[in-house]
């Protein structure tokens, strides 16, 4: 089973990563003229490493999710097992979150350490085929090592943010070019932070498309994921507001982020549902035409 590779998507992803990389190089080059970078990088490195190693537990904890065994959710476990087998992955830990908002996410620094979490709402809302589609999408994230890629992509962006936020504290002592150095460093960091933020979000949206394609390849059923996305997004608009705000920090990991009207499209971690559905339908069409 094959369909034509999405070269447009690949090209845009490479371009985004290249721009991000170039931006970071320029950032380091400019910054090293105005301040000692060594300390910042060490501290931030440890911070990012911590985030990398504990983000899975943190994500599960903040969602109120807990690991479930095969005898509690035999069907879910069997489904995850078979899909991982098809995706050539070791079976991830399965967790369920006690919330009615239908959603799913995957965490973990490597395929061996990964956890796939679904909410109770998702289990109630979707039928088996749709659920398979969503789980396969999450397994595709695991397979593509999205947690690691996004952690690396965000590393210097986080440093830039920290300098913007806390740079003034170190204003006097470390700069080599007199008092103005730190102000320049803060301004440069601000620009880098904003630009890298947009680029990282763009990258995140491309990786969602990739995970959609990967998930569809795992189940062999692009329409099921499309129908799941429509079902979830239809449901999410009707969920009470309190629930939504409670969940909004976790957006980056969700299969569909919760909408907030004023945040523009370029700041969104996920592509609009309609576009994802459209692309999945194209894949389904290609399968029929081959």
């Amino acid at each position: 089973m094959e369909w034509k590779p999405d070269w447009g998507l690949r090209g845009r992803m490479v371009l985004t990563m290249f721009l991000l990389f170039a931006l970071y190089i320029v950032f380091i080059a400019i910054l090293s003229r105005y301040m000692g970078l060594f300390g910042v990088v060490i501290v931030m490195g440890l911070f990012s490493l911590g985030q990398f190693f504990f983000s899975d537990r943190l994500a599960l904890y903040s969602m109120g999710a807990s690991k479930v065994e095969a005898d509690e959710y035999p069907q879910l476990h069997a489904m995850v097992g078979r899909l991982s087998q098809q995706a050539d992955l070791p079976k991830p830990t399965v967790a369920v979150a006690e919330t009615k908002v239908p959603n799913a996410f995957a965490t973990g620094r490597s395929p061996k350490q990964s956890t796939v979490c679904v909410t109770k709402g998702l289990l109630h809302t979707l039928d088996d085929e749709e659920l398979e589609g969503v789980l396969a999408h999450e397994l595709a994230h695991v397979k593509n090592r999205d947690v690691m890629v996004m952690t690396i992509a965000s590393f210097l962006s986080t440093i830039a943010f920290m300098i913007v936020r806390w740079g003034w504290l170190f204003g006097g002592n470390r700069n080599r070019q007199g008092g103005g150095g730190m102000i320049v460093a803060i301004l440069v960091s601000l620009v880098v932070w904003i630009v890298s933020f947009v680029l990282i979000r763009t990258l995140s949206r491309y990786r969602e498309y990739s995970a959609d394609r990967g998930g569809a390849a795992i189940t062999g059923n692009p329409s099921a994921l499309a129908s799941a996305l429509l079902t979830i997004s239809g449901r999410m608009d009707r969920v009470p507001q309190e629930d939504l705000r409670e969940q909004s920090e976790m957006n980056a990991f969700f299969v569909i982020p919760i909408r907030s009207g004023f945040v523009g499209r370029i700041f969104s971690t996920h592509p609009p549902t309609e576009k994802r559905v459209e692309r999945l339908r194209e894949m389904a069409g290609e399968m029929e035409r081959q």
């Binding site: 050539d88 070791p90 595709a140 062999g220 389904a284 081959q290």
Partner: protein, 203 residues
């Protein structure tokens, strides 16, 4: 993980590539000698059945491919005497179940069916080939599962319900290792629980 794999996952292509990677059915012939070793060294006789597990694709072309496999197996029925039937399990996965008292014919038929899937362009949908064994002394069951995704075998010994006899599985591994290409990472030893606790995975 090699450099090529790293680059692939950096660009978000691993999932799609690995899920559509074709299977290599030639490894299945390794089972022929494994049948002999299982009986000679471990007292496990053939359960006279083997099966091919695959996941469906939502397309007309795929349905035609499955029809093709059925036609070929029907034709083979008169040749080798291997009976075959289709089965869909509770998880929505599909099976081609083959029954024959001659293990050699079983292996040939399973290979034949798998090869047809590959030729029709759906090799990537093959999940596993499962070969059944029984120990007459205590009725214990064991299976050798060939994972098309991994290109390796692993043992599976269910003991009724959702329990597996790990000691037996490790024993099978140690005896057959070298003869079969056994999956070294036990994280990939996926169980294939039968729908009926006393049945085969394909029942």
């Amino acid at each position: 993980m090699g450099l090529f794999d790293s680059i692939r996952s950096a660009f978000g292509l691993s999932a799609e590539a690995d899920a559509t990677r074709d299977a290599d059915p030639e490894d299945l012939f390794g089972m022929s000698t494994a049948y002999l070793t299982m009986e000679a060294n471990l007292d496990f006789v053939p359960a006279d059945a083997a099966a091919l597990c695959f996941s469906a694709v939502d397309s007309t072309d795929f349905a035609a491919a499955v029809d093709e496999v059925e036609t070929i197996l029907h034709a083979g029925e008169s040749d080798t005497g291997t009976r075959f039937r289709r089965h869909e399990d509770d998880h929505g996965y599909h099976w081609v179940v083959l029954e024959d008292s001659d293990p050699e014919d079983l292996v040939t038929s399973v290979h034949f069916a798998a090869d047809t899937f590959v030729e029709e362009g759906y090799g990537s949908r093959l999940l596993a080939a499962v070969f059944g064994f029984e120990r007459p002394r205590d009725g214990a069951r064991a299976y050798w599962v060939y994972s098309f995704r991994r290109g390796a075998y692993y043992p599976f010994a269910p003991t009724g319900g959702h329990e597996r006899d790990s000691r037996l599985e490790f024993k099978l591994q140690s005896v057959l290792d070298g003869e079969l290409d056994v999956e070294g990472d036990e994280g990939y030893w996926y169980p294939l629980w039968p729908d009926d606790p006393d049945g085969h995975p394909w029942e």
